[in-house]
């Protein structure tokens, strides 16, 4: 019984992490058809922003939930103005340019922070469930992910901002004709996407030792989750994260973390082969 509970929790946790690390990328891809391969480095910067803020004496929750998204959002805004906006509509070129950015950010972080590991301690302590030790912080990550999905759905569905965003997403020309500047919508979308990356970095920072190359560990997974999910932001993210979370955690449970990761990657290949437009390109088409 305890084992089942632990196992369920682990699966939920791994789905939550996938949602968290992919959310920013999904927003940008779903809205703008832009793949930001510097996403992992945005997370890395969010992590550093959190750690620096905590060291400066700011409360750890404020640091990771507010400071990190803001800092990275602003960096994203600068990146969008300097690079991305020249490449709209050129999917592959955007990927290459952002890959270049990711290398540049990694290099810059090495120069600023050095190749040493830094970190903050986890603010929530663990507890025991039957014979098993559970990391309490996992609950926090699950809660953050759920809130994130609910908020994204509510904003896109319920607010005027969301309506404009969805309109631009479906037809940028039409939105422009109705008087909304796609340029501004894209700019704000990229800001939101970067801020979400910053949030992910901030929230995950206490779990790991942060190094400048940290982002590259996540980018592939985030990229795979978003592409496999397809164009719909919320449903796509949720469905692919669920599939991959289940697969990887099950195999991790059966035979270790490396096999779990390989299983995730193999599942991605099979999924993309069968559903080349992603899950929501086939099912739930046109939903959020």
């Amino acid at each position: 019984m305890d084992l089942a509970a632990v196992f369920t929790l682990e699966i939920l946790y791994s789905i939550a992490v996938l949602v968290l690390i992919s959310a920013g990328l999904a927003v940008v891809f779903g809205m703008m058809r832009v793949i930001n391969l510097a996403h992992g480095e945005f997370m890395m910067m969010g992590g550093y922003a959190t750690i620096i803020a905590v060291q400066a004496g700011i409360n750890v929750y404020i640091a990771m939930l507010i400071v990190a998204p803001l800092v990275v959002g602003v960096i994203g805004l600068v990146v969008e103005r300097l690079v991305i906006r020249f490449l709209y509509g050129r999917l592959v070129d955007t990927m290459l340019a952002t890959w270049g950015l990711s290398l540049a950010f990694t290099g810059a972080a090495v120069m600023i922070f050095g190749n040493t590991t830094t970190g903050v301690s986890t603010p929530i302590s663990g507890f025991t469930l039957g014979a098993y030790q559970i990391n309490g912080y996992n609950f926090f990550i699950i809660v953050v992910s759920i809130l994130l999905l609910v908020a994204a759905y509510a904003i896109l569905r319920g607010t005027r901002l969301g309506l404009v965003a969805r309109g631009t997403m479906q037809s940028a020309d039409m939105a422009a004709a109705l008087g909304y500047s796609p340029d501004r919508v894209y700019m704000s979308t990229f800001f939101v996407g970067s801020a979400l990356a910053g949030l992910a970095g901030g929230v995950l920072a206490p779990l790991v030792g942060l190094v400048p190359t940290w982002g590259s560990a996540y980018i592939a997974k985030a990229f795979i989750t978003v592409i496999s999910g397809g164009a719909s932001i919320v449903l796509g993210l949720l469905s692919s994260a669920t599939v991959f979370g289940l697969v990887s955690q099950t195999f991790t449970f059966l035979s270790g973390p490396v096999i779990g990761e390989v299983a995730l990657l193999v599942a991605a290949i099979v999924l993309l082969r069968l559903l080349p437009q992603g899950i929501t390109g086939r099912f739930f088409k046109g939903r959020l």
Binding site: V92, D93, F105, G107, P276
Partner: protein
């Protein structure tokens, strides 16, 4: 048209031969050999991406596969001729199967990119775990994270004690590069190559003419894989150790950067891009003021923004003006693929 391009190719080979003898005056053989191997690797991606329009984010998979195939078979056989052939054959077959899976599934640009990237990652993760004694193929222990040293390096065919190393390895690699270049040029001049370019330009139209684009793309992809495997085998011989790092994300990124900077739609561009950037990385590695990853990243961003066709095609059209070589946007179209967002 094709005759003219083959004549250009002859000039390129001639220039290459001159360069082969001039370069050692400037740099040592050890570094030069690596640059030549990089050139060969870039050529493999330049072929499938620039001429086939196949965006492969994981060319490193075939490179690493070639290196490992060589190392494992050389450790078992103790002679380098057969392992060299195996190192070409294994990535060739693997690339063909992978390509067939993707092309028959009608996957296009980003999705293809993701799959090839994922395959590279799988190799990377898997090879990192092969430290235990159970991962042994014949005499060869894969060695996990630490890699696999101690296999027979390149030797004169038939004589395992006559090692080819240092200056001779450099000349052998360079001659192989030139040979592969000529073969690829001939391939592109053949009906197969011309249809490959036609597929890049408009796949539907080629299929309506009755050609099987999926099969042809798979073959082209496999040829690229085989060339990358050959580069991997030469690398294995040069470095005398193969490590999972061959499959890393960074390695994949570098190959793409070489091709972009050098220029797609040409064969010389990627090779030069690889040699120049490879040297630049080496030179930057000598100093500590600026991180070399930072520079590589910035170069990639700037080239994508300012010279979307790459350095060599831009230079060519600048010099040639409106002459015969002015093929508008061919390179860029190949790079952009046929994504639905193209506009």
């Amino acid at each position: 048209m094709e005759a003219i391009r083959l004549r250009d190719a002859a000039w390129v080979v001639l220039a290459g031969i001159v360069l082969m003898f001039v370069a050692p005056l400037v740099l040592n053989y050890y570094t030069l050999t690596l640059l030549v191997i990089y050139g060969l690797l870039a050529l493999s991606l330049g072929l499938i991406w620039g001429f086939g329009g196949i965006l492969c984010f994981g060319q490193a998979a075939f490179y690493g596969l070639g290196a490992y195939a060589y190392a494992v078979s050389a450790a078992n056989i103790g002679e380098s001729t057969v392992p060299m052939l195996i190192a070409i054959a294994v990535p060739f077959v693997f690339a063909f199967l992978l390509g067939a899976m993707m092309f028959y599934g009608r996957l296009t640009d980003v999705y293809m990119g993701v799959i090839t990237l994922v395959v590279t990652l799988i190799f990377f993760r898997f090879m990192n775990t092969t430290a235990g004694p159970e991962y042994q193929i014949g005499q060869a222990r894969l060695g996990g994270y630490n890699g696999m040293p101690g296999y027979q390096t390149l030797n004169v065919p038939g004589d395992p004690s006559a090692y080819i190393y240092d200056s001779s390895l450099y000349y052998v690699s360079f001659v192989i590069l030139l040979l592969v270049y000529v073969l690829v040029r001939l391939l592109l001049a053949s009906p197969f190559g011309r249809i490959a370019v036609a597929i890049r330009e408009n796949e539907n139209r080629v299929e309506l003419m009755g050609y099987d684009a999926r099969f042809r793309k798979s073959v082209l992809f496999a040829i690229g894989g085989g060339i990358a495997g050959l580069a991997g085998a030469l690398y294995a011989s040069w470095a005398e150790i193969v490590t999972p790092g061959l499959f890393s994300l960074g390695q994949s990124a570098e190959i793409i950067i070489w091709c972009i900077v050098g220029g797609l739609g040409t064969l010389v561009g990627p090779v030069l891009g690889a040699a120049v950037l490879g040297y630049l990385k080496f030179a930057l590695g000598q100093q500590t003021a600026v991180d070399n990853v930072l520079i590589m990243g910035l170069i990639l961003v700037v080239v994508v923004l300012v010279l979307p066709r790459g350095v060599v095609p831009s230079l060519m059209s600048a010099f040639a003006g409106t002459s015969r070589r002015n093929r508008p946007n061919a390179a860029r179209r190949g790079r952009r693929g046929r994504g639905r967002t193209d506009g």
